[in-house]
């Protein structure tokens, strides 16, 4: 997937849970859960939405590689190559 497509997918997944959040609200280098005020259930729903939209299954072992917006974009770019 192209980076631009991934960003669109991520925003769709985030807004499914936090409809009020826009891309410019997010500091892409900070922990996404803090940036968007997501609890653990919200974060899980975010990952489920990403799996639905991209087919990429993210397991707990990889959480540290996807905890910011920027890291998630890089992760998905690599997984959908």
């Amino acid at each position: 997937m192209k980076i631009q497509e991934i960003k669109v997918v991520l925003m769709k997944a985030i807004q499914e849970i936090a409809p009020e959040i826009e891309l410019e609200d997010i500091d892409v280098d900070e922990d996404l859960r803090d940036e968007c005020d997501l609890d653990s259930m919200d974060f899980l729903n975010y990952l489920i939405e990403i799996k639905k939209l991209t087919g990429v299954k993210i397991t707990e072992g990889d959480y540290q590689n996807v905890n910011t917006f920027k890291k998630m974009v890089a992760y998905l770019e690599q997984k959908t190559e």
Binding site: I17, A18, P19, E20, R33, D37, D39, S40, M41, D42, L44, N45, L47, I48, I50, K51, K57, I58, T59, E60, G61
Partner: protein, 409 residues
């Protein structure tokens, strides 16, 4: 345009579940349900049935808007809808007869939901809310949506009373239900929800002699089990700690059933089933407390699925009326970003609420050695009219014991 005449026809229900015998038919009233001791009125938004339609106990027959958001209203009887007494959009006090159903299984009289008797007399005096009218006539939800999305309502043909434009009339206008529900939530202002929380919590603190107990529970085993179990699982199969906490609470409640039930008419009524209410904070402020039914009979995976389901529906506004009325005990979970402890306020007529703090690392002495341990403070707020300290302590220790063997939950 004047709805006064409609309002004058409203009849408050005088007794629980009155059945009229007309010939051989048994007719039951379908009333504006009380979805909590705090609810005084609800707005009928849409009927999903019409006279002549067969219905089964548990079917969703209408959508109502409350301080808790848009709710799918279920019917408590099996039969045929014989009469619809109010058309949407209209605000009706709790207990108003909205429709009637002719029972097809007369042997099966509906069970009265626990909150009915508590809320037949709502906390606040009932006032009929006038439905604002404007040109063209449209429901508040529709008007708000039209404003937000700059829709021209003069081009929409309304199917409601007096040609009022209802949600369903907008279905062709690129508006899906999800949007509508979000607008519903926006309309249910923070103020209404705060008022509802205020009356329920004031009632609780005025009437229930609370006492509080706390136990630090070691969670090392449970967290390791979760880590192993989740290792290769996709996010939709992932289990959160909360699922284990719910299961452990249900098992401990089986052992100590006196914490599970209702205090009504000056006595405790034990609940046969274990329906655990879960406090869910809404992003726009306020909270809802939907119940997960029969937690004792669910597997850990099923419990997790149920938690995920109510968290999604709690947000989108498709909670069912039964889920908001039949919790037998409540759990409030601070989560990992919360506080070490939470002492909850009991939701009447329940008799206990369990508060889970966040997991914290702490040094502990084991056989003289200092080791790292992960603990959670679990607090029980209990009704002293029903529960004594010894029982509360036994319950918390039983809960701890359950959590040491997560594989058996």
């Amino acid at each position: 345009m004047d709805r006064e005449s409609d309002h004058k026809e409203l009849q408050m229900k005088e007794e629980d579940s009155v059945a009229e015998i007309l010939g051989n038919d048994i007719v039951e009233d379908i009333i504006m349900p009380s979805l909590g001791a705090d609810m005084t009125e609800g707005m009928l938004v849409e009927w999903l049935v019409k006279p002549g339609d067969p219905v089964k106990r548990g079917d969703v027959i209408a959508v109502i808007e409350t301080q808790k958001g848009a709710i799918d209203m279920e019917v408590y009887h099996t039969g045929v809808i014989s009469e619809i007494l109010h058309e949407p959009i209209v605000t009706l006090p709790v207990g108003t007869v909205m429709a009637r159903v002719t029972l097809t299984e007369p042997g099966e009289r509906a069970k009265v939901t626990p909150l009915d008797s508590v809320t037949v007399t709502p906390l606040d005096s009932i006032s009929l809310t006038h439905v604002e009218t404007s040109t063209p006539l449209a429901s508040p939800v529709v008007r708000k949506m039209a404003m937000d999305q700059r829709l021209d309502l003069t081009e929409v043909k309304g199917s409601g009373p007096l040609g009022a434009i209802l949600l369903r009339d907008l279905s062709g206008s690129n508006i899906d239900r999800t949007n509508a529900i979000e607008v519903d939530d926006a309309i249910n202002t923070k103020k209404a929800m705060r008022g509802a929380i205020a009356s329920a919590m004031s009632k609780s603190k005025n009437e229930i002699p609370h006492f509080y107990q706390s136990l630090d529970i070691e969670l090392g085993n449970a967290l390791q089990w979760l880590k192993r179990t989740n290792e290769d699982r996709a996010p939709d199969q992932h289990i959160l700690l909360l699922a284990l906490l719910l299961k452990a609470a249900a098992k401990a409640l089986m052992k100590y059933p006196d914490l599970n039930g209702f205090y009504q008419n000056n006595q405790f009524v034990h609940a046969e089933e274990i329906h655990i209410g879960n406090v869910i904070s809404l992003r726009q402020g306020g909270l809802v407390v939907p119940a997960i039914h029969n937690v004792d009979k669910l597997s850990v995976d099923e419990t997790m699925e149920a938690i995920r389901d109510i968290s999604v529906r709690g947000r989108s506004g498709h909670l069912r009326s039964s889920e908001l009325t039949d919790a037998t005990i409540t759990i409030t979970n601070m989560g990992e970003r919360g506080t070490d402890t939470v002492f909850g306020v009991i939701y009447p007529p329940q008799v206990a609420i369990i508060g889970f703090g966040k997991v914290r690392e702490t040094p502990q002495l084991v056989d003289g050695d200092l080791v790292n341990s992960e603990v959670m403070s679990v607090c029980l707020s209990a009704d002293h009219r029903v529960i004594d300290g010894m029982l509360g302590a036994k319950f918390l220790n039983a809960l701890s014991k359950q959590l040491q063997k997560p594989e058996l939950l």
